[in-house]
Each structure stands twice: as C-alpha cells, then as structure tokens.
C-alpha cells in the first residue's frame, strides 16, 4: 500500500522574522561582521543628524525667510495670486490622482490645458494700472516660484518639441532629417550653461525688434531648446524599439502615415521611454539652478542671498539643507508619479 507523503512545515529557522534575519543578515561570519558594523555606522550617523536637526540647528533663518524662499521678490500683497495658482494645480493633480482613468477623461485634459494660460495671466497680471491684477513682471519672480515655473514650462514645452524632433530625425525627407539631426547633435554637444548664455545674448538678435523678451523668457527658451534635444533622443530610442510588424499591420488595415504614428507607434514608443524621459525631466528640474549665472534668483539663488543676511550670518547649513529638502521632495514626487504612470499604462505589455 502506497504511503501518502506527509506535507511538512518548513523548519522555524527558515521562515518568518527569524528566518529572514538569518538569511539576510547573519548567513555567514562576514555577513555577521558587516551587519554589526553597519548597525554601528547607521547609529552614529543618524544620531549626529537627528541631534543637529532637532537641537543645534537654528531654523529661524528658514521660518523668518519662508516667504522669500517661496516667492522671492514677488510683491507681498500680491502673494495670494501664487497661492491660488498653487491651489489650481493641487486641485487638478488631486482629480487626476483619484480619476485613475486610462485614458484620462477628456474634461481633465482640457482643465490642465486651460490651467497654463490661466495661471500665466494670474501670476503676471495685465498692466501697471490694473487694480485687480497689477503687472508683476516675470523678471522679478524668484525663489521656488521661479524654479517651478522654469521647470514646468520647460518640461511642458520641450516634450512636444522633442517628439517632433525625434520624428523629424527619422523622416524620409533628407532636408528635415539633416536639420533635426544637426540641431540635436549641436545642442547635445554643448553644455547647458553656454546654451543659457547664448539664449540671453543671441535670442534678441533673431527676434524682430518689437518682441522684447525678458531675462526669464530668454532663459526659459534656452532651457526648452536644450531639453527638447535630449527628449528627442529618448523618444528616438523608443521609436526604434517598435517592431516593423506594427507599422505593417497598421498600414495593412488602411491607416495613413499620420494615424500609424499617432495611434500605433507613438503611444507604444512613449510608454516605453517614460522612465528615461522622467529621468531627464528630473535633471532639467535640478538644472534650473543654473539660471543664477544669468542673474536670476531661483530657490538656490535665494538661499545663497539669505545666507548673506546680517542677522543670520553663518547659517549656511540650515539654509542649504532646507533647499535640498525641497528639491528632494519635488524630484521624488516626479519619480513616484512616473512609477505610478508606468503601472497604470503597463497593462497589456507584451
């Protein structure tokens, strides 16, 4: 008679907390040593940091200057306009978050598209005399406000430009192909700082004299043109990953070239390069700090000027730690949103 083999429980040292500890921290004698050293190291580092943050640091430099960090030289009595703008963005982001739609509902897309000119008008105002929204020239925007404006407008404007450049580089028409390739390779061969300088000096030469762009607009143009070249190369990588069979199948059902691109190729290509593009946008966000060299005061520029205040002499650490924390929060949010986007769109992967 056949004996049924018994189903046994694994030994207690292999599962649960004890098993995990044994497997991951104390599996060999050098792992035991490594674990002990790491624990000691982590203890001393975190004790030093916590003591400084909680006891030694003089955070009044940050609390006193909080408004300056956030909006810089934006007039105090007009600060509500920044808050309303922030409210609009948070509200839309919240709706996008809870809708969880794939695709995002149309009214929300329209809402986002409308929010940009709306916020632009709200922040900038109409003219000096206007009683409701007096002009606040973008050249005195500074602090986190300027950082966010540079980053968001740069990202939003460079993305479609980058996609067009990527498509242009694959074009069958030699003129367009050469033009896009030369543009992309030139920009990629030049540091952002020089692009920023060039945009300050050269842009007025190319534009008709009636159009006078302020420093912020010129910096923004430079950053957009710079970022677009990198976006283009990322998108090109995604386009190259689409199998030829997708083009053939799309043409075989009768789609014309524009529909093949818009419905079949680009949606798949862009989805594939989300991590690369978000990575590039994060670096664009951090690169906004370079505008200090053309005389603009972004968050870091403001931080630098705050350290020069007489009453807070010597408090560099607090100021820069605060600035770093804000940069980290922004970049981490982008990174997290990207991962969520990948998950939402990830259904139906091959």
């Amino acid at each position: 008679m056949a004996v049924q083999p018994k189903i046994l429980k694994p030994p207690p040292t292999e599962v649960g907390l004890l098993g995990w500890l044994k497997k991951n921290l104390f599996s060999t004698w050098y792992n035991v040593l490594l674990t002990i050293f790491s624990v000691i190291f982590i203890y001393f580092v975190s004790r030093a940091i916590i003591t400084w943050v909680v006891r030694d640091a003089r955070w009044e430099v940050v609390t006193t200057n909080f408004r300056v960090f956030m909006i810089g030289r934006y007039p105090r009595e007009q600060a509500w306009r920044v808050l309303v703008s922030l409210g609009i963005i948070v509200f839309l982001a919240f709706l996008t978050w809870v809708s969880k739609g794939n695709p995002i509902p149309r009214w929300l897309v329209i809402g986002w598209l409308l929010s940009f000119p709306l916020i632009g008008i709200l922040l900038r105002g109409f003219s000096e005399e206007s009683s409701f929204l007096p002009l606040v020239s973008e050249d005195i925007w500074s602090g986190l406000l300027l950082t966010l404006v540079l980053a968001i407008v740069g990202i939003v404007a460079s993305f479609p430009l980058g996609v067009l450049l990527a498509l242009g580089r694959r074009s069958k028409l030699p003129a367009i192909k050469v033009l896009c390739t030369v543009y992309i390779e030139t920009i990629r061969g030049v540091p952002l700082i020089s692009v920023l300088f060039m945009s300050q000096l050269m842009l007025p030469l190319f534009l008709p004299p009636e159009i006078r762009l302020g420093t912020v607009m010129r910096a923004l143009t430079g950053m957009t043109l710079f970022s677009a070249a990198y976006t283009a190369e990322n998108v090109r990588g995604g386009l190259a990953a689409i199998p030829i069979g997708q083009y053939e199948a799309a043409r075989a059902v009768g789609l014309n070239e524009a529909l093949v691109m818009g419905l079949i190729v680009l949606p798949q290509a862009l989805r594939a390069v989300i991590p690369a593009i978000v990575g590039q946008f994060i670096s664009l966000f951090k690169d906004t700090t370079l505008v200090i060299i053309v005389g603009l005061l972004d968050l870091l520029g403001i931080a630098k000027s705050v350290t020069g205040q007489k009453e807070f002499i010597g408090l560099h650490k607090e100021v820069y730690a605060f600035a770093a924390a804000i940069f980290f929060i922004c970049c981490f949010t982008m990174s997290y949103a990207s991962r969520r986007l990948e998950q939402t769109l990830g259904v139906g992967e091959r």
């Binding site: 199948a249 075989a252 059902v253 009768g254 014309n256 529909l259 419905l263 139906g348």
Partner: protein, 253 residues
Amino acid sequence: MHNDNLNPTEDIIIYRDVHKWFGDFHVLRGVNITIKRGEVVVVCGPSGGGKSTFIRTINRLEEHQRGDIIVDGIELTNDLRNIHAIQREIGMVFQSFNLFPHLKVIDNVSLAPFWVRKWSKEEAARVAMELLERVGIPEQANKYPGQLSGGQQQRVAIARALAMQPKIMLFDEPTSALDPEMIKEVLDVMIELARSGMTMIVVTHEMGFAKEVANRIIFFSDGNIVEQNTTEEFFRNPREARTRLFLSQILTH
C-alpha cells in the same frame, strides 16, 4: 460552387510581368498571374522563393519595381491615394499576428473602421463584437493581446482584418508561429471564411487546408511561379520536378 452571387469571371488581381529586387537580389522575376473574385489560392514553395514577397506586393507592403499590378480595377502606382484605396480593400494576417499590444482586443478590431471608415464609435464596436463572435472569442474582447494564446491572437488578427470589410484577404503563413494544438482553431476560421466566398490568397504549407478549400495551388520557387493547377491536379499530377521534390518533402512525414 461558393460565390454564385458574384460574377466568377471578374479578375480582382492582375499581375503582369512583375519584378522586384532587394538591392542586387532579384526576388520576383516577372510574375504573371490573374486571380478571380471569390477564388481561394494557396501559395506554397521553399523558403526564400519569394512567396511572401509576392503577397506583400499585393497591398504595397513591398514596392514592385517593374510591371503592372492591378487590384480591383485600381493600378498600384506611387500615387498614395491609390495605395490607400487598395490597402482599405485588402485585409492581411501575418505570421507573427502583429496585434497592437497597447490596445484591448476589441479596440484592435474597431480601430480602423472608426478612424478610416469613419464609423461611429458604437457602430465600430458593434461590428467588432460580431466579428469576435464569428472567430469564436467574444469573451476575450476586453483583454489585451498579451493575455491571449497564440491561436486566439491570430483569430483576433483575422477579425481585425475583416473589420474593414475587405474584398481580398491575404494570409502570410498564418499558422507557422502557432503551437500544434492551436493550428486547427485558426484553420477552422479560415475555412469558414473561404466558404463564405471571400477572395483569399494564403501562403501556407497546411496541405490539408489546401485540399479542403483551395481552388488553385501556386508553387512558387526562385522568384516565380513554377507551376499552378487546381488543387486535385496539383497533388495527383505535379508536372515539374521541383514541385514533386517539394511535395515529397512536405508530405512524407
């Protein structure tokens, strides 16, 4: 005996001395053939013989460089309007399915009717559902292609091609990438389609399918048609030595 309702003598595809080169390689070497409306033609032959290239020139996935191709009265030239007009009339099923992986099954099928035929969303979805029922997988409509088996994917691909209500269906080795147990489900759909009177050109080595529904078999080798005949005659009485060799290779096991 199928398609009594159509004029069986009307020529839907005409090839006159069609040549194609890939670089220096002469793939199609003066192909002449006429295919009638409602005909089911099986194309077979050794690999590298040009049979795939031949059917891919019918809907301009490959461009021919000499000779004339006339499909449903429209000549295939470099005129994009002609090319699109012909591509709308021809459905194609590929060896590797080529479904759109980012779209649900039903959207794969309803995409072209909606965007190209300009049907309403509801109409396109309704027709797509009918076609999915016809190929036997309506319950998969809201899945993504990656969640389906190979046989199911190929049946979706057939439904997608049929959604444009084509006059001609091209099949480029539709069962070659399938596991053996899935070949029958795809062939059954193709047999039903053939019996409904569709004009079909099928590159395949499934000789059972050929015997069951093909009106004509074309043996393609070295860039041209070596031999063509009615199905019965082709198997019973192959004339060319190359044909006999090929048949002995694929029929012995």
